[in-house]
Each structure stands twice: as C-alpha cells, then as structure tokens.
C-alpha cells in the first residue's frame, strides 16, 4: 500500500435529510491518498446515501466534501472526474457487448481512444473477461457482470475507487478475484473507499475503517486499534471434561468481568485473558477438573461493529 499524507476525500459536516428523516447527520472524516478505507454500518445506517453524495448522485442537505481538493457542491464535475464508481446495484448495459460497455464508460470520461483501447484490453485480461469481449453483457453471469462493472470503473483511470458492496451475492471465485484485484490496485497507489457488510472482508483488506450508525459516525480507526480499544471484549474460552461446570465458581475469579456459556464451553471476559487463564488453571487443579480446551480470544472486527452499532449505540442513546 502506497500511502501519502495527502487528503483525497475530506468530508465536512456532510448531512442528508429526506423529509423528516435524517439519513446522514453531519459526518466528518478524511481519507488519505493510497488508503483502503472501509465504510461499515448496519442496513439503513446511511452508507449508500453517503457514497451517493460523494459520487455526485445526491445533493447534500448540509455540509460538503472535497474530492482531490474539488468541492462536491461547487465543482461537482471536476470532483467526479477523479472517481471510479461501482454502485451497490450497478449494472452494465445488457444489450451492449462487454467491449462496448467499457468503451462507452471511457468515452464519457474523455479517455483518448488509444489509451482506452489499451487499458480496456488489459483490464479484460486481468479480470478474466477477454474471451467474452464480443459477448452481450446480458449473457454474463452475475459474477462476470460484476467484474465488468469493476472493469468499467477502472478503465477511466480513476485516482479514487468507490465500491459499494462489491462482492455482495457473488460466488466465491469472483469475490476472491475482485478482492485480490482491489488489494493489488491499492498496493499500486489507488485510493479505495469500500462499503461493505462483510466484516471479514473489511478486516482483511482495510487499513482503516469508519463505522456509521443511524447516520452518525461512531468509530473510525485501524481495525487492530479498534479491537484493542475494546479490552473488555477479550475473553478466555475454556471447556472441561465431564459434566457441566458450575459457572458461579468461575464468576468469582478475580479477573473475570463476565461469564457466559457457549454450548460446552464457557467464555470468561476480562481485560487480561492471560492472567485469567492462570486463575482458571489453578481452579481446575483445586477442583480436580480436566481442561480439554483453553484459548484466549481477541475481539474481531465483527465484535467491534456489534459493540458500536448495538450495545454501545443503545448506551449512547440512553
């Protein structure tokens, strides 16, 4: 990943109101050049509305944003010239061939003929569509069509790529190929703004993530930092041989903050799972219990997401 300290997307108080409904309530964040930035949130959180404002489809009700220093409200065409977009429910023109679809998009961006032909051919080969070049887009499977949408976004030579749920509903091979291409492009310096529901995808790919809930930004940081910020969500998982163990003994351990049963295993939450493991081992020795499974777990990005969009969100509302 080639990261520069240069803001390519600067969001300042961006808001969108639909009648009495606030879809996005004053977002503020920056994306740096070369970042692979994840934008996460539950359904209806305002992710797609935000992307639509940034890509010029919707006009903000309040606030603004800059794309490569061009204000999306006062210089919408200049700001859009830097973007490649893969919208959530995007499609290509089904009655045009794969090649014509690519050329049409490149022409709309004013890409010179030689460049668009060369780049188009290269992208078709990279994304495994070269043998379908003359086929009508309507004959492609969903996975191949999504690859074509990605090709059409890239053939314009964007500096920033917006992807709204790019692998949603795709077969494993297409999803993996698209993720691999995105990572490769990002490694070559392309800034990527990725909206996704897939926590594994975000955790695996993104250098930084923002979590949005009910139109508000609730967390923004590197996935690793967000996870370690949630020290209370670290836990120790233990399973004993024989009958089920009385959890009240485990609850009394000095470092156990919370205990929950997950099938035959017991989870003990605490800020220091290592110390907790020693306490459990001592308890097992005293009570002559045989430990069959013992491991410490750090919170996943999914735990972080659920924390900020569930428990924590309710806490904040209260």
């Amino acid at each position: 990943m080639v990261r520069e300290n240069r803001t390519v997307i600067g969001v300042k108080g961006l808001a969108k109101q639909f009648g009495s409904v606030t879809a996005v309530a004053g977002l503020n964040f920056d994306v740096q050049a070369g970042e692979l930035f994840g934008f996460l949130g539950p359904n209806g959180a305002g992710k797609t509305t935000t992307v639509r404002m940034l890509t010029g489809v919707l006009e903000p009700s309040n606030g603004t944003a800059t794309i490569e220093d061009h204000d999306i409200r006062t210089e919408p065409l200049l700001s859009r010239a830097h973007l490649g977009v893969v919208p959530e429910q995007a499609n290509v023109y089904p009655d045009l061939s794969v090649w014509r679809n690519l050329m049409l998009m490149a022409e709309l961006y004013g890409v010179p003929r030689t460049q668009r032909c060369r780049e188009g051919q290269r992208l078709l080969e990279t994304l495994g569509l070269a043998d379908r070049k003359r086929h009508k887009a309507r004959t492609l499977s969903k996975g191949l069509r999504q690859r074509l949408v990605l090709c059409a976004a890239l053939v314009t030579g964007p500096e920033i790529l917006f992807l709204d749920e790019p692998t949603g509903g795709l077969d494993v091979a297409s999803a993996r190929l698209i993720r691999q291409i995105i990572r490769q492009l990002n490694a070559e310096g392309l800034t990527v703004f990725l909206t996704t529901h897939n926590m594994d995808e975000a955790e695996e790919m993104c250098s930084r993530v923002a979590i949005i809930n009910r139109g508000r930004l609730v967390a923004i940081d590197a996935p690793g930092r967000l996870r370690s910020a949630m020290r209370s969500s670290q836990y120790l998982e233990v399973a004993f041989a024989g009958d089920e163990v009385d959890t009240s003994e485990l609850e009394r351990l000095p470092d156990a903050m919370r205990v929950s049963r997950e099938g035959k295993s017991v989870r003990l939450y605490g800020e220091q799972p290592g110390r907790l493991a020693m306490q459990v081992a001592r308890l097992a020795e005293t009570k002559r219990l045989e430990i069959v499974h013992l491991c410490t777990r750090k919170p996943t990005l999914e735990d972080v997401f659920l924390y900020f969009t569930g428990d924590r969100a309710r806490e904040l509302e209260r």
Binding site: R52, T55, G56, V57, L58, P76, L77, L78, R80, A81, L83, V85, P87, Q89, A90, N91, V92, Y93, P94, D95, L96, R100, L104, M105, E107, L108, Y109, G110, V149, A152
Partner: protein, 256 residues
C-alpha cells in the same frame, strides 16, 4: 489557465459527453420495441384511419402525415431512455460520471431530434413518390422538421422525468399528452376550420407551429405568420428543455 480557457474546456468536455450520450442512445434505444411501436407504427395507423374512405386528395394530407410522423418519432426516444436506465440500474453510474445532467439531457434531446429528423424522410419520400405533392419552400420544410423535432424531443425528455418503476408508465403518460395535442394541432383538419375552442388551444401545442411550417414547405396555406412558427418552436424548445433540467434534477435520485 485563465477562467475563460477553463470555461471553454468545460463546455467542450460537456459537448463531447452529450455526443457520447447520443451514440449510446442510438445503439441502445432506436430499435427498442416501444420506440418503433409508438414512433413508427402509431403514425402509420393514424394516417390510414384518417385517409381510408375519405374523398381528400392524397397530396393535401402529406404535410399532416409528415408532421404527425415527426411528432411521434422525435418524442418517442426521450420517454424511454431515463425510465429504461433506471430499471436496468445503469442510471446511477451514468449520473456519477463527469458529464453533467444537463449534458446528458441535451444528448437525449439530440437523440430524439436525429431519430425524428431521419425518419421524416420516409413520409416525405412516400408523399413525393406516390402523390402529386411537391416541395415549394425547402427552407420552411427543413426549418419545420428541425425545429419541430427539437421541441418534440425536448417534450419527450421532459415527460421522462417522473421516477417510475416501469418504463411503460412513462409511455402511457407521454401518450396522454401527445394524443390530445395531436387532435388540436391542425393535423387532421386545418386550424382555421377547427371549432373555436380548438383554435384557442392550438397555439399551446408545438405541433401546431411545426405543422404550419411543414404545410408552407409543401406550398399550402399557413395559419400562423411565417415568422411566428420558428420563433414559437424555439421558445417551446427552450421552455421544455428548462423544465426537463429542473424536474430531472429534482427526481434524479428517486427510485434508484
């Protein structure tokens, strides 16, 4: 770079964008069944229904036939493009390109102009070949066809603005507007011979002026002064295009 140069560059880019839209529309929509049905078959059947069994010299109805064909063809493309793009989920991608909404809509208007203008050659050719009709004023005929096609295409694009789930709803809406105007625009009966109320309504239809110019082109008596028809068609084109800009902008993100 001076502001003047930058402005000229922006205009050039937008003009290029509009031309790409014209090319896209020609590849995708000119041969769509609704365009062919409402743009080509409709006027043919109207003509046959009007002509059959009536003792009218065939050359007298050629201008009306040309104007009616132009009315249906030029206004058939616009109502199809945006609803079709919305349904096919290609519209969001299109409006997030660096081509402005205005340039996209101008591209749609020009698509209707070219479609209507080119297809008007057919009724003119048939009229000249099969009847005693002759072109007396080519300038009036060409002016009527070009300005008429432009204003009809702008009307078609305006009618495509409401966000609907099915393109058929927009075709219905467009026929709801186009059919009544057809009957008050002096196509089947010269405006001077229409009832009083219809003579009052005729000036609000662009088809009345285009039909009048085309009639002059074929050497028939015009109802409006010759200078008024082109002027009114320009006014209609400007007003309808302005309306299209306004309503498409208002509804562009609805129903995506």
């Amino acid at each position: 770079m001076t502001a003047h140069t930058e402005l000229a560059r922006t205009w050039r880019r937008q003009a290029h964008g509009a031309l790409v839209i014209v090319k896209k529309n020609a590849m995708l929509y000119y041969l769509k069944p609704p365009v062919l049905i409402f743009g080509v078959l409709f006027p043919v059947f109207f003509f046959l229904a009007f002509k059959m069994g009536r003792p009218i010299p065939a050359e007298n109805i050629v201008p009306g036939m040309v104007a009616m064909a132009l009315w249906f063809t030029a206004s058939a493309v616009g109502p199809l493009v945006t609803p079709w793009e919305r349904r096919a989920k290609t519209y969001e991608r299109l409006i997030s390109t660096p081509v402005s909404l205005q340039a996209i809509l101008i591209g749609d208007v020009v698509s209707g102009l070219i479609f209507g203008g080119c297809l008007s050659v057919v009724p003119i050719g048939l009229g000249l070949a099969l009847t005693n009709a002759s072109i007396v004023s080519p300038a009036a005929l060409i002016g009527g066809i070009l300005l008429g096609a432009l204003s009809f295409a702008a009307l078609g694009v305006l009618l495509a603005a409401p966000p609907v789930s099915s393109p058929a709803n927009i075709m219905l809406l467009s026929n709801l507007v186009r059919l009544p105007l057809l009957f008050v625009s002096g196509i089947f009966l010269p405006i001077a011979r229409m009832p009083d109320w219809a003579q009052w309504v005729a000036p609000i239809s662009p088809l009345s002026y285009a039909g009048d110019l085309i009639r002059s082109g074929f050497g028939q008596q015009a109802y409006f002064p010759l200078w008024l028809s082109p002027a009114m068609l320009v006014v209609f084109t400007a007003g309808l295009t302005w309306g299209a800009f306004r309503f498409h902008r208002r509804w562009r993100a609805k129903g995506l």
